[in-house]
């Protein structure tokens, strides 16, 4: 037997008034929601063509992995930069989407679609992990609109989760940020993250934001980093994700090429 108590309201009526106006423009159930074109269509496994300049392995046929599927502690890492009063958020994001690979630190390759970053695109990555080895993996463009875009990772990537790049007006200035919501994908990656991996990732995204700031004309861009452990528990039921580990596979692929050459 159940009983229903009265509603416990937690937001103001004015706020719903704004939504009602927007709902009137696109009544529920009659038209596609206005975010429909921003989301990628559902995929079960990634499909991708070979691209120049990257090895292109460890992506085709893989499933996407979100924070729910990862192994390690769950982190939310935010990298923010004040882009100044003259840069509009839309311009910052348009520049980022169009020239995304150009802002990456040296030694790392991002081979995306020629048209920039759009929902449903798959990009192939070669990431420098030291010792002359490149970690070959990829990312999927989960979401993209004028003020943000989100990349999601496949099985075997260092982490399971997504990275959202966004820009917004805060008072007189525009703030640009990258926010990672992630768990290390398997026990080996979790160990690697605690032994310098997090620090390396922080440097990677700080360098990326700095390069973006310079392109936007920001004088002496400063990046603020904030990391929060959202969940300290490790998900041992996902320890077997190690089977897909792209770092191990990349090392083996490199050795195979060297042995063959």
């Amino acid at each position: 037997m159940t009983e229903t108590a009265g509603p416990d309201r937690v937001a103001s009526a004015e706020q719903i008034g704004l939504s009602a106006r927007e709902a009137a423009a696109a009544p529920l159930g009659t038209t596609a929601p206005r975010d429909a074109s921003s989301w990628a269509k559902k995929v079960d496994r990634l499909q991708v063509d070979q691209r120049d300049g990257v090895r292109g392995t460890n992506v085709a046929g893989r499933r996407l992995t979100g924070p729910v599927q990862g192994f390690g502690k769950m982190w939310q890492k935010t990298y923010r930069m004040d882009a100044g009063p003259e840069i509009e958020p839309e311009r910052a994001i348009a520049t980022w989407r169009e020239h995304f690979p150009e802002f990456w630190p040296k030694g790392n390759r991002f081979a995306g679609a020629l048209t920039g970053i759009n929902p449903g695109d798959v990009a192939l990555l070669d990431l420098s992990i030291g010792g002359g080895v490149k970690l070959s993996t990829g990312v999927f463009v989960l979401y993209a609109d004028a003020e943000s875009f989100t990349l999601m990772t496949p099985q075997g990537h260092m982490f399971a989760g997504w990275i959202t790049f966004s820009a917004e007006r805060e008072g007189d200035t525009t703030t640009v940020q990258a926010q990672v919501l992630m768990r290390a994908n398997d026990p080996l990656y979790e160990m690697a993250m605690t032994m310098g991996g997090h620090r390396k990732e922080d440097k990677f995204w700080a360098a990326t934001l700095t390069a973006l700031g310079q392109r936007l004309g920001v004088e002496s861009p400063k990046v603020e980093t904030r990391s929060t452990c959202v969940d300290t528990k490790r998900q041992w039921r996902h320890a077997r994700n190690v089977w897909h580990n792209s770092m191990i596979r990349s090392v083996l692929q490199t050795l195979k090429v060297q042995a063959g050459g």
């Binding site: 309201r9 706020q15 596609a32 769950m74």
Partner: protein, 118 residues
Amino acid sequence: MDVPAITMDVRRVGETTAVVDIRGEVTAACEPVLMSAYEAAGGSATSRLVLNFAGLEYMNSGGIGMIVTLLVRANRQRQELAAYGLSEHYREIFELTRLDEAITIYDSEESALNGVVR
């Protein structure tokens, strides 16, 4: 940051279940509203939380992140999360992001509550 265009009304259904009626836009900006609703619906007596998305008008990737954060909090309290009222579009987003593997999706409130109240 923009004021979130959202309301979340909390209804208690029985002693161990709460339903959160979500109306408006789920984005990163809705975090305070979502967490207030969770507090209103939570407590150690609540073992399952049902999210009603029938009034969902818009959701971006920041909003999905908020739901993941809510899921973590619920799991920490050993509470189960369920959802209903998702349109085909939003159901596909739950499947794409594989959130459906952690949040059980039902077709209606009745079926969600039948799944909840044993």
